[in-house]
Symmetry: C2
Subunit: 458 residues, 2 copies
């Protein structure tokens, strides 16, 4: 595919590589090295001989190898100039890092126009300018100026903003969610949301596409790409633009209008996009979608050792789902386990209080609720206690014999909870650290169910 040299290059030139650790040109190079890239790396700079143990070339033309991807880490003035050399060298894709283009005014617009004309003339796909770059964990390829290594997974991210894109990355890592590909589209002078979205829609490593956007000029093309992508995999979008106050700053950020938010949101609803209103919501929803299939129906059971959190979940879910009564046999199993006169009312949401503190007991009730034929999905909540452990292995065991989506809430983010969350998620069970994050997880799956059903009908 046309964008393979961008995501899966065998050889990369970093033009403007520096040996000063606080320079973008150093960090672009170090990011690739630090990320464990196994292809060839060629730093380009007229004055250095060696950086990070790599031979430096004075000019891209002088590299004695084919170059799949050129990363241009020069200032805005030099960037456009260098595209011709890249073309002469036969590079198959370009990432253009620097800002200072159309987002800053008239002079920048001229520079960007020149950059676009040259890249188009040579037929080279160009990402940026004004971008943090690209990450493909599937290729151990980290072409940004924030060196890092990420947990691998099946979520891919498109972000108009490097900073919000980094927030999404860090939040995904906090949440134990794995990333497959990450793309900062920046000014989208050539490659826009639609191009990246179409690539990811067909990418085997990507099961969920998470997008942060400010706005694009090519709205129709973007929405067409959305419409094509949604039947293949869930698309979650966090788009800003509710407040008029973001219009001008967005223009000075990546040069685009945020557009009419209602138009976007209407189209998102129509085309089956799952919407998010914050970084946290985007990540929470993507995580559930990355780990779970859509439920068969909309009937949710909640099982908890403390009623309050289940009430906050019910309140936030509103009419998004049904809360069915349990079947007679489920009620009997529960009653039998509790004995006579339990100091609580047996119902859905099921709060078993102290009856469910110990792992074996938790397992019993979870199994009863998950087995109920009138239940399509389950949220189970328990709370960290000094004197007993989390019922993680028991939950995993119960989940193995059911195909219904199961979401867990262990409300805290500390060193005790994190490894439990990891373990659940390694076994395909999303785990959240607040009731409200769990609501996002549930609602993503409920929305997916609705979208899938609608598509089956049409």
């Amino acid at each position: 595919m046309r964008l393979n040299p961008l995501f899966y290059p065998e050889s990369v030139a970093v033009i403007g590589a520096s040996n000063t650790p606080d320079k973008v040109g150093f960090n672009c190079l170090e990011s690739i090295v630090y990320g464990g890239f196994r292809g060839k790396i060629y730093p380009v700079h007229p004055r250095y001989d060696e950086i990070l143990g790599l031979d430096v070339y004075p000019d891209i033309i002088e590299i004695d190898d084919d170059i799949d991807l050129a990363i241009i880490a020069l200032n805005q003035y030099s960037t456009a100039e260098i595209v011709d050399s890249c073309a002469e060298k036969g590079v198959r894709a370009i990432i253009s890092i620097a800002g200072g283009f159309r987002e800053v005014g008239e002079e920048g617009r001229e520079l960007e126009k020149k950059l676009v004309e040259r890249a188009r003339a040579h037929g080279i796909p160009l990402l940026g300018p004004n971008t943090l770059g690209i990450i493909n964990t599937d290729h151990d390829f980290y072409a940004t100026f924030y060196p890092m290594r990420l947990k691998k997974g099946n979520i891919s991210v498109i972000s108009q903003s490097g900073g919000v894109g980094l927030s999404i990355i860090y939040k995904m890592m906090d949440e134990g969610a794995g990333i497959n590909k990450w793309v900062g589209v920046g000014n989208r002078a050539i490659l826009d949301f639609s191009d990246i979205l179409r690539y990811l829609a067909r990418d085997d490593g990507t099961d969920v596409i998470a997008i942060f956007m400010e706005g694009t000029e090519r709205v129709r093309d973007f929405l067409n790409a959305v419409r094509e992508a949604v039947p293949r995999k869930p698309v979650v979008v966090y788009k800003i633009g509710r407040s008029k106050k973001v219009e001008f700053p967005a223009l000075t950020h990546t040069g685009s209008s945020v557009g009419d938010q209602r138009t976007y949101e209407g189209a998102f609803r129509q085309y089956g996009v799952i919407q998010a209103g914050s970084v946290r919501e985007l990540v929470a929803k993507s995580k559930a979608l990355a780990l779970c299939q859509a439920p068969e129906g909309r009937r949710l059971a909640i099982f908890t050792i403390s009623a309050g959190p289940s009430l906050t979940v019910l309140d936030a879910l509103g009419n998004l789902c049904e809360i069915p009564e349990f079947s007679q046999s489920t009620l009997e199993r529960i009653r039998e386990r509790m004995g006579d006169n339990p100091p609580l009312v047996i119902k859905n949401p099921l709060d078993v209080a102290a009856f469910g503190f110990l792992p074996d007991d938790f397992k019993f009730f979870l199994s009863a609720v998950l087995s109920d034929p009138g239940v399509d999905m389950v949220l189970a909540i328990t709370i960290q206690h000094k004197n007993w452990r989390f019922p993680t292995p028991e939950i995993i065991e119960v989940a193995r014999s059911h195909s219904k989506p199961l979401i867990i809430c262990y409300p805290a983010e500390n060193d005790v909870v994190k490894p439990e969350m990891e373990r659940l998620q390694m076994n395909g069970i999303p785990c959240y650290s607040t009731p409200e994050d769990s609501v996002w997880g549930l609602s993503a799956l409920l929305e997916l169910e609705r979208i899938r059903k609608r598509m089956d009908k049409s």
Copy 2:
């Protein structure tokens, strides 16, 4: 004060103490010991001699000491019976742990009526029944059945639900926010929100009161207590009841109707309550209020090294604040530092991109923005990078010479960020791990400013 024996007891009896670690009666006792209580602890049980190295008394009457507080960890049937013995012993307050009272139906209602009658007859303030208990970190007193030790601070919490109350505790610990007192009001048979709220409003250790509520029958009394408390200190309330689906489960939880949500919300607005819609929002808002004074006005400056997060903040804040232009002298200072043709637009929100990566540079721009006479408060955002450290000491230094509220966003919650957050907060600067949490912090301060101004006028 009447409730001092509840919060500051010198001697405590735990009736129904057990030596089995998965029993509530054991955990109530262990919680007090583990918490470091320095008063006298008397376990009461007819069949044990010693638990956790403490002598066990067969009956509260036989304790050869005055008892300030009795914690009753018996089942619902025995609880009402024991109140007479507590009265005979002269206890000055009671915590009644077990559920199984009016929340479960007719039989429970009768039991609760009996419990209330007896406690009232003896004039003993009673917390519960159906409560997790009480924590007073100021007295190293942890009377719940979840043994823990908390970071001390100036936020006090009232929660109708033990589980949501625990979520709040864990989230506060995750956020590095300190707790002063924590009260689970449960069924509120005698002591209700109003009583605890009035106590905390006059409590020197409490600067902010955070409340989770489902509903109360004594709405007028509660709202009167709110009206009295707000002029003394900020009150933040997360109340559920938007969805009709919570009505019945709430009734079976702590026996109360969630009531008419619009009535509550209208009164909250009228009386100057800061509202929250989730545990996370409650904690984020309480943290800002615990560390900062209200700003003098509503003019916010945002300073960031990446524009995107500042846009998400603007979008979420909407019209809650003004985003003023910087003064000429501020603009000149910034321009001078950047040199000719910086590849960005200098404005508010101020995105300085790579100009602010290093701590000294970050400090310069933060100082410029915070010094602007047209700015009342500042949000500053930076992002974790492998090759440079967070500008934490520089931020602290700049903040020292200004009295304007300053909020920091370091977007991640990992082991690198947590100690930085701690350090900032020890110096009175709230730090958040997403742009949207920062919005909650900012909006709490902006709401406080509005409330204070309105009160000054009236």
